[in-house]
């Protein structure tokens, strides 16, 4: 097993700034926009972006929710692993809102498919966009593409992208691990 650093803390920070700017271009004051972090790993990206938008770009009111997709996945009873749920925390209705899904790695697209179904339980959004820090192109199982992407990676299927965050894993770093 070997691993190489895909992005350092500094690079991640630059990318997050760019993503924040791109979000502002499209959503300006975030009046009708809500951010949804996809559990379990998307919430770290979402929290960072929220903090950036608030502190660096002075966006006043940002609504952020966590969406757990466990009960909407299409691999229930199909894998070896038993699926474990995480907390969903959405204190607002998404009816008529512009929703931005935020996740760390976009791989097969199946999580996002599940998230598209799950979010319907909270109303009918006006539109849904997808922001992902790492986009593993060429490995999609479904016709799903991000609207905002941090970095595109051409990883083959046996490889794994590991995203680490200071608040959870001790450091900001993204690794590409090959078996």
């Amino acid at each position: 097993m070997s691993q190489k650093v895909l992005l350092s803390a500094k690079e991640i920070n630059i990318i997050l700034h760019r993503l924040a700017c791109q979000l502002i271009e499209n959503h300006l004051d975030f009046k009708n926009t809500v951010l949804i972090g996809i559990q379990p790993r998307g919430i770290f990206v979402a929290e960072r972006l929220k903090k950036l938008l608030k502190e660096e770009y002075k966006v006043k009111d940002i609504k952020l929710g966590y969406l757990d997709i466990t009960f909407y996945r299409d691999d229930f009873r199909r894998g070896e692993k038993i699926l474990e749920a995480n907390k969903t925390k959405i204190d607002f209705l998404v009816e008529g809102k512009n929703v931005v899904f935020i996740d760390d790695v976009l791989y097969t697209g199946r999580s996002i498919r599940a998230a598209l179904t799950a979010i319907q339980s909270f109303g009918r959004p006006n539109e849904i966009e997808l922001l992902t820090l790492i986009d593993r192109r060429f490995s999609r199982n479904l016709p799903i593409q991000p609207d905002y992407r941090g970095r595109q990676v051409d990883a083959i299927n046996q490889e794994k992208v590991k995203v680490m965050w200071k608040e959870n894993d001790g450091e900001d770093k993204i690794y590409l691990i090959s078996k």
Binding site: D68, T70, F71, Y72, R73, F76, R77, R78, K81, I82, L83, E84, A85, N86, K87, T88, L93, T117, A118, Q120, S121, F122, G123
Partner: protein
């Protein structure tokens, strides 16, 4: 832990403390789901569940059916009253006939104790016991202890008294197991005639004075007198029972602390508890019903995830 140690839910007796912990954590998630504007998740799209009720039930049957539907399972219902059981068919035959229609899971209520265990040994499906005679009613005990945990923060270290007809109650036995497994102390209270002779061998205290029992406890679980199961007279009159073992507001207010009142339903208002107690803030009877759906969703979900494709 992310998997139950059992393939069926036949009784609390067969569960470990970690199983209950896992069921409660999963219930937390489903409780959030059933409070959404749209209360349905698609997890069990490819699972079919048969609800076999060989004995009357409203609450439990509705609760199970709602739980199954909120998980998107396909549901078939069966009541003994309108079935071939009356024509002399055996239990195994009835269930195997239903299973050959490709059913994955069976929820069963049966008047005979051990019916679920018996079935689990002979048919190829996941079995959930929804009450077997005066034996066990595991989902009721799970939702009762979940409601205590929700109200008081923890079950461990709490004193719980179960009041009423212990002899004929499956709720009592399952509750005793579930409470002890989670570290609570249990006493039963009721007329001597309605308390099983060897109940103390389960580590349960017996108290025949209701006031003393209430002074001791944090939670009182009030059971109904099951007249339909009584072939002989166990106490002189309902009025006398109420005087001795009925909880009313005056009695509750005279205690020096506020205790939690639970009831598994159906309530006989004015017999085991008065209306003003049942409708008071101390009663969590309707919370129990709400939690029942979430608990059953969790149990069904966790058992279904163990069914091989």
């Amino acid at each position: 832990m992310s998997e139950l140690s059992v393939n069926h839910l036949l009784g609390i007796k067969y569960l470990k403390a970690e199983d209950i912990q896992l069921i409660f954590e999963t219930t937390d998630h489903f409780k959030e789901v059933i409070n959404r504007p749209i209360k349905k998740v698609p997890s069990l799209r490819d699972i079919t569940i048969a609800n076999l009720f060989f004995e009357n039930s409203t609450r439990t049957k509705l609760s199970f059916e709602l739980a199954e539907k909120r998980l998107s399972a396909d549901v078939v219902n069966f009541s003994a009253g309108q079935s071939s059981v009356k024509k002399g068919e055996t239990l195994i035959d009835t269930v195997n006939n239903i299973l050959s229609m490709k059913v994955d899971m069976v929820v069963m209520r049966h008047p005979n104790p051990g019916a679920g265990v018996f079935l689990s040994k002979h048919v190829n499906a996941s079995i959930i016991n929804a009450g077997d005679g005066a034996h066990e009613h595991p989902t009721q005990a799970l939702l009762d202890t979940y409601s205590i945990r929700e109200k008081l923060g923890d079950v461990s270290g709490k004193n719980v008294v179960i009041v009423g007809d212990i002899l004929h109650s499956r709720v009592a036995l399952s509750n005793i197991f579930a409470l002890q497994l989670q570290g609570a102390k249990v006493k039963v209270c009721g007329p001597k005639t309605l308390i099983p002779k060897y109940i103390e061998s389960l580590g349960v205290g017996v108290e025949t004075n209701l006031r003393k029992a209430l002074e001791w406890c944090d939670v009182a679980n009030m059971l109904r007198v099951q007249n339909e199961r009584m072939d002989i007279s166990y106490f002189p009159s309902t009025r006398e029972y109420t005087q001795q073992f009925g909880v009313n507001k005056v009695l509750l207010d005279s205690l020096d602390k506020e205790i939690v009142i639970m009831h598994p339903g159906p309530i006989n208002r004015g017999v085991e508890i008065t209306s003003d107690v049942a409708d008071s803030k101390q009663a969590i009877i309707l919370n129990q019903v709400e939690n029942g759906v979430a608990i059953r969703m969790a149990v069904i979900y966790l058992l279904a995830s163990k069914i091989k494709q």
